[in-house]
Subunit: 626 residues, 2 copies
């Protein structure tokens, strides 16, 4: 039997096999923190055509059942099926699109001139067995061997000591000591492992975005990225942005729920990656996480309440190296977890990781860094100074809050061209299959093209009657980019979507202008603009300038970096020098609270037009419009 | 209504009140780890006379029920009652008999010339509240204040940080930081406490004996011992000595059970003491435990298996300062727990504590220390050298394995005189009430007197027909010291008891001789003999010499120290210098494994007589016998 997907993939399914298992065998992973037991209710798919046998509906609501939503792990086909996998259900594994522009990260790490030096170290030990004449305690025997290697004052946790007698004898006194040591932190033993067994060394780098979670599985010896996985952050059901999450955590008492949601997302990816590569959890003994300040707090189960209330105070910016078990990660519970340090309540470790990934903190030229994620943070500076601010863009460029929005994975419309004569759109889809939604770069293209072709006006309002592709939808006017007869779910941008995107780009542009003014620079003085974010692999710069999102400066100054949060997390996973640099960046960065600047609001109001109220700031765009 | 006890105490009991509650109100505490809910089955009492209403029998066996044993917390009187409290059921609280000879411990601490410096420290902090212009993170604010006090590099646990935001705001930025700092250990934050609330400072010193558990509640500011509690170690149901406990822990899989047993014993005492003095658990933020190596391992849940098997290796001797929560103590879970370091598998922290308590490690004169507990350990040396050995005496001097044996608490026969004419015994009972059993010092007296009066011979065999007090009991010949008509439970010493005690004294004496021979000293060279142990407040030295238990040297060289394990634990609780001294003692002490000395076995065989095969070693005793 065959399982056809609306994305045009075709998967063989065996008699008596459920949909979840068949998809997994074909390398199509669904999010399922319960591992396919019908308990978590996450592996939802929609049956479009064909007959099924449903073992259980689990947590599905009445409305979902009526819409032919089923749990893939609880559904068996009776013949061929056509199904749709909703974007939230898909765990993207092995998709290199999530990767930063620099595909060869191990090579990129080398370009920093630093060695590989993870948070965990391993020391082979061949101890003389205990005898009646050499009958010191097990721990003293270990300490004596460490002394001989010049390692002194190591700390031993109760968990470590509780396993010690057994571990030494099982390994016949011949094993590796796994321990942590780092800047200012006294060495601490983690566990002992026999030379045979769990002796390969992997780590995970995690980007905890407000909207998406990305995990790299990394070989700690050679720095190779073994595999990649990503998924939506399940916290999304409690709100799109950090503020609603904080409200849910504090007023709703949902802190534990939010922590569990994101940790399960990470664990689901990690478990899939370990299974794909036949790696044991004891072999994954280091982790680095990078996220905004709220995400970092929630990941560690820390109340983010004060972040939201004036004077906007996080509990901490520099996180001690706590353990995987404390975070409830499914890797080795004793493994150290390094959190990329945060700058302030609204500029987090993701931005520090981003600056680290651009190397702007090492160069004398003045550079601007912008991370267009759920929030939108910017940084400016060079090897002598750094300033930063947050712009409150909202999550639209990550596909959230936009009717047909999705993140930049297979099936996303990533670029759009509209024919000037016919007003018919020409789309390009990531992965080359059928379109399932539109991602950030597609939105930028789409709005610029609609504006250039007179489909929307300078305020983003639809020019009714301009083309038959404008229609009245449930939520007002919308433009149809792709008609999908089969799924009865066309891909459109609504007037509300356009408004949303204009507000987001206005916030970003106003933030850049305010920050530049604060440091006394003009746009021209910026020698490099590093653009990061999950909105797609690249942006068409001209169109982004036409939108008024990017400043109108020479095209060659723009550098696309992809997801710099994960790149920075990767760098910090492997290098002690770069962890130190991340901490230096954090200490050096001056945070500007934009909301206290009156000029920010003025700049924002002026930027709520396409491209801007003051056209003199956009000479190139003005030329294109003519 | 009245509750009369066989120990002659009388307690008023109210209508509808259970026995447990009535006794507690009168200051008579029963062990009950469940707090009197019928769940733990420990508060057993025997109803001798009177009618009762029994709510539940809980875990009592059929045999126990038939013997009129009830659970005190589940039993209400219907009129006056006469009850017996078995020794295992009684939690001894406030009884100064458990105290070391030096009643004024705070004064004794001063005699060391050290200051009061517990493992936990408190630092008052008055932080400037967060504002929009001083908006560093909570942890950075704390770090800044510590920096100003010159405290750098403090570690912050996840538990501490998780409470931080709330703790700072609840205390309105004005509080005390409780932290740990000590030799070689980097400072670590424990918790924050508002200036009002749990700001008194107490600690507990714990002696974990194989047979008994003693707890001192100590004021950490002035060193005063606030109160004292003790009970039998509930591990006893799994065997009398450390070897059977180890077998139960390893072969029986009972490690967790043994740990729980002793921790519950400690907690039951601590909870009673806190209740008596209206102290909150958050105010008890330091603990010190002293015990033999096996007890220390089991207390921390560490597998003691290797201690028993050649080459007799403990997991560790120097214990890191783990937390109260890790040990499951009912004090503040973050409080540091200091374990007095151990020397070897059979010489533990109790002996190190003992040497510390005698000050022999500070003086030039050669001294002998013996701790007559369940095992029997000895140490010899001075301020330059120290040697130690363990003698395998068994627990008889603590009252275990002896038919009517009990520890030295109220009701114990502590001395015996036998009339030369009539062979009638004259007894003296601790607390002055009716006798309930016989403690170590009573046994020494009894056997010496029986020997002097020809009731037993040099081998410890009863001379049948010598007196009507010798009778044939269930387990062979026995001598009746006290006829108890009421309880139908006379107090006797059996021939098996005498044999047991002779074996114990022989092991001790043989150990002393072997250790002296090893260091090339004669008995005469020993200038001081410090005697510690839970067998009573003093020993009649002449009678102990007559028994062949103590060497026949001038009486004035003997010093009775009482329970030195608890004294040492008390000293380590309060003084950093003395913790350091305890560690120096441990490092300096050379352990001798007696079982590998052929001469030890010879010495032991020679000592299995009263007082000894070689009477020339006991000239004074020889004189008395004549």
């Amino acid at each position: 039997m065959e399982l056809r997907l609306t994305s045009d993939e075709v998967v063989k399914i065996k008699e008596g096999e459920d949909i979840y298992t068949a998809l997994k065998r074909a390398g199509i992973y669904l999010t399922a923190s319960c591992g396919g037991k019908g308990a978590c209710g996450k592996c939802r798919v929609r049956i479009i055509d064909g007959k099924t046998e449903i073992k259980s509906y689990g947590k599905l609501t009445h409305i979902e059942r009526e819409s032919n939503i089923v749990l893939a792990c609880q559904t068996l086909p009776n013949g061929d099926l056509l199904i749709e996998i909703p974007k939230e259900s898909r765990l993207v594994v092995g998709d290199k699109i999530a990767v930063a522009r620099t595909k060869d990260l191990a090579g990129y790490l080398k370009s920093y001139g630093v060695g590989i030096n993870p948070t965990v170290k391993r020391l082979p030990l061949n101890l003389p067995p205990a005898t009646i004449t050499d009958n010191i305690s097990d721990l003293d025997r270990l300490r004596r061997a460490l002394d001989e290697q010049g390692i002194k004052g190591m700390r031993f946790s109760h968990e470590f000591v509780a396993e010690l007698a057994d571990a030494l004898r099982r390994a016949d006194w011949n094993m590796e000591l796994v321990y942590v040591e780092g800047q200012g932190i006294p060495a601490e033993a983690i566990f002992l492992t026999p030379l045979e067994g769990c002796n390969r060394r992997y780590g995970i780098a995690v980007d905890i975005g407000t909207t998406t979670v990305v995990v790299y599985l990394v070989n700690l010896v050679n720095g190779e990225v073994v595999d990649i996985g990503s998924t939506y952050n399940s916290q999304m059901r409690h709100g799109d942005d950090v503020i609603t999450r904080i409200v849910h955590a504090t007023e709703g008492g949902g802190l534990n729920e939010l922590q569990e949601a994101v940790v399960k997302d990470i664990n689901t990816i990690v478990d899939s990656l370990m299974e794909r590569h036949d790696i044991k959890s004891c072999e994954v003994d280091a982790a680095t996480v990078s996220g905004n300040t709220t995400m970092s707090h929630i990941f560690w189960g820390l109340d983010p309440g004060s972040i939201r209330e004036e004077p906007y105070i996080p509990t901490l910016n520099f996180f001690p190296m706590w353990r995987g078990g404390t975070a409830r990660l499914s890797i080795n519970p004793q493994s150290p977890v390094y959190t990329v340090p945060c700058v302030a309540s609204y500029v987090g470790g993701d931005i520090v990781a981003g600056v680290l990934a651009t190397k702007m903190h090492r160069n004398p030229e003045v550079a601007l860094f912008m991370d267009i994620g759920t929030n939108g943070e910017i940084a400016i500076g060079n090897n002598e100074w750094l300033m930063t601010a947050a712009c409150s863009m909202g999550p639209c460029f990550e596909g959230s809050g936009i009717r047909c929005g999705m993140r930049a994975t297979a099936g996303a419309i990533e670029s759009v061209k509209i024919d000037t004569e016919t007003c018919e759109p020409e789309i390009s889809v990531i992965g080359g299959g059928l379109p399932m939604g539109i991602c950030g770069s597609g939105m930028i293209d789409a709005i610029s093209e609609m504006f250039l072709n007179g489909i929307i006006d300078r305020k983003g309002k639809f020019v009714k009657g301009k083309t038959g592709r404008i229609r009245e939808g449930e939520e007002g006017a919308e433009f149809v980019f792709y008609k999908d007869e089969r799924r009865r779910k066309d891909i459109v941008l609504t007037e509300a979507d356009v408004e949303n995107i204009i507000r987001a780009k206005a916030a970003l542009y106003a933030g850049i202008k305010t920050l530049l003014a604060e440091v006394g620079f003009t746009m021209d003085a910026v020698e490099k603009v590093y653009i990061a974010g999950g909105f797609g692999n690249y942006i068409n710069v001209e169109k982004a300038i036409l939108l008024g999102m990017l400043p109108d400066i020479p095209k060659e100054r723009f550098v696309f970096m992809g997801n710099t949060s994960i790149t920075g997390a990767y760098l910090c996973l492997l290098s002690e020098e770069l962890r130190k640099e991340a901490e230096d960046i954090t200490s050096k960065m001056t945070y500007i609270e934009l909301s206290v600047y009156r000029s920010f609001m003025d700049e924002y109001m002026s930027a709520l037009f396409l491209p801007h109220t003051d056209m003199s700031q956009f000479p190139t765009a003005a030329g294109m419009i003519k």
